[in-house]
């Protein structure tokens, strides 16, 4: 990885020192994120920093499916929500329903496991479809889950959901305090980000991208395409599930509103604004959307807020189908241009240059 390079397909196995391996862009970014608490107020630390990292992780799980696997899912917030409900039911809550009070180190892994299984199940339903139909079927699943959670009081406590969820205290730290919560989110996001970045070049990562490019050929070289796609959904569920736990610790509550259609589309908007080509995209998108949600509401009012975010979405998609990442790509120096969307352009260009010379 040199710099924050946006062309994940070109890195060869070369012996490099760790600075070259990580890339100067990553190191600067890491430094900034590490010292951010020294500069930021509690509000900026939690409501902007922590929240962006959490939403970024959920969008990252979508990026994994859509960017590498070509499967656009609207059910990622549903998966995160599943983890959230597990936290509410098995951890502590103030709603007087369930709240078994299990320790975080039991309900945490349990929540991630259940969320990932649910993701795999949604995937197993969705992989029968292609393109727009995948979007439709995951939207249908997300909507069904929303209504089910809203009407089911036995398990989901219906419309009010669960309140009074508390982040744990351990190592003498209350992990919902601004600085610890920020670092907790940062640590999780970094693990997920690095895992996706590394995994993209792993055998399975290549497999997933090959499936995106040509399923028929994948079958004809011996791959069980369906099983590989479902596995990708399961992996995405791990990330979304972990983010779901952080999300309910952040909010202190979970209700059907958390997994409604609005939030689920929000995740798609984040991923697309940021760009689906590199795992940094979802985090960029999350920062932008969270900043807009926080400050634009004051300026234009809650009513017109969705119009505004819709406009920003349209403008970005219009000038750059690859989101912010695409813009960055366009204005940065030549070298990184031959990525997987624009390599054709680049090829034509160099061909033309060759001809002119």
């Amino acid at each position: 990885m040199t710099d924050l390079t946006l062309n994940p397909t070109r890195n060869r196995l070369q012996s490099q020192n760790w600075i070259e391996k990580a890339g100067i862009g990553h190191i600067l970014l890491a430094l900034f994120l590490l010292i951010y608490p020294a500069m930021a107020s509690d509000f900026f630390l939690t409501q902007i920093g922590g929240y962006s990292l959490v939403l970024g992780m959920i969008a990252l799980s979508l990026m994994l499916l859509a960017g590498y696997g070509g499967m656009v899912s609207l059910a990622q917030i549903t998966v995160a929500g599943a983890a959230g409900y597990v936290v509410a039911i098995f951890g502590e809550n103030n709603s007087g329903v369930y709240g078994f009070g299990w320790p975080w180190w039991i309900y945490g892994p349990l929540a991630i496991m259940i969320a990932s299984m649910m993701s795999a199940l949604i995937g197993w339903i969705a992989v029968r479809t292609e393109g727009i139909y995948t979007i439709m079927i995951t939207l249908a699943v997300a909507t069904a889950c929303f209504y089910f959670a809203q009407q089911n009081y036995a398990l989901f406590n219906g419309f009010p959901g669960y309140n009074g969820l508390r982040a744990p205290e351990f190592f003498g730290v209350y992990w919902r305090d601004p600085v610890p919560f920020y670092y907790l989110c940062l640590a999780n996001a970094v693990v997920a980000y690095v895992a996706v970045l590394y995994g993209a070049r792993s055998t399975f990562g290549l497999t997933l991208q090959a499936i995106r490019d040509n399923q028929r050929r994948m079958r004809a070289i011996g791959f069980n395409v369906t099983a590989h796609k479902v596995f990708a959904w399961w992996l995405a569920g791990l990330i979304a599930g972990a983010a779901g736990i952080l999300l309910v610790w952040f909010n202190g509550r979970i209700s059907p509103g958390t997994i409604a259609v609005g939030p689920s589309i929000n995740i798609l908007v984040i991923a697309i604004i940021g760009g689906l080509r590199h795992p940094i995209g979802p985090f960029l998108g999350a920062v932008i959307v969270v900043l807009m949600q926080t400050f634009a509401i004051d300026l234009v009012g809650a009513e017109r807020f969705n119009t505004l975010i819709g406009l920003v979405f349209l403008v970005i998609v219009f000038i750059s189908p690859d989101g912010i990442l695409g813009l960055w790509e366009r204005f940065k120096p030549q070298e990184g241009r031959d990525n997987w969307r624009s390599f054709k352009k680049a090829a034509n260009k160099s061909e033309n240059q060759g001809r002119n010379a």
Binding site: T9, Y198, T203, R212, I221, F343
Partner: protein, 263 residues
Amino acid sequence: MATNVAASRLQGTGTNALELDGVGRQFGALAALSGISMRIAAGERRAVLGSNGAGKTTLFNTITGDFNPTSGTIRFFGEDITTLAAHERIRRGLRRTYQISQLFTNLTVLESVYLACRGVSRRRYSLLRPRASDGAMAQAESIVHAVHLDGEKDAMVGTLSHGQQRQLEIALALAGAPRFILFDEPAAGLSPTERRDLIDILNALPKHIGYIIIEHDLDVALRVSEYVSMMHNGRLFKEGTPEEIENDPTVQEIYLGGGHRHG
């Protein structure tokens, strides 16, 4: 050589790589294939000829499971694979190339071939990056070399020339330990030099690997095969050695009469 194969076919000795019995495929009212029965010995190299729309590609699709036949049975080394999932057939040693290249445009050449090697071995779900010392990676390197793509191994597949993409199609079919390969017009659109390269690659295949090659160019077909099947309107109507086919009056009339197509 050709006569040996013909003789062994007649005696029915040894296992057959492929046995088709009454294979048919309907597309609505159109019978793209009907009543295809053929036996192909292990290690045999067979050419399938026939005019456009004769059903040659459809025959391949039913054998590899891209779609199933609507009637008949297909055996691969004695095992009934008629309704087996496509990837399972591949894992049993069947391979194919496509008439229209089916490649991974956003992977590199080496990555593509590596995946083809991985697809028929273990650790397909590995979340680790492949090491250069990985067996599948080492095999991929040697296959890339065998199809003369060394210079392009780190190039994105989408940037390859047509000829190079056709070579990569072949590389994907050679990965793993193929026992039998179906080549669908591998020479289509190739320059004369590339054609010669192709013939070299095919003739350099280990002797135990049999194949069927669909080829419009008789010169190529006859140089890489020992036995020829002729198809017309979804039926097999003639089988024989290259000499028999070339001299057969019906063949001349139906196929060669119109002047055979190049490319």
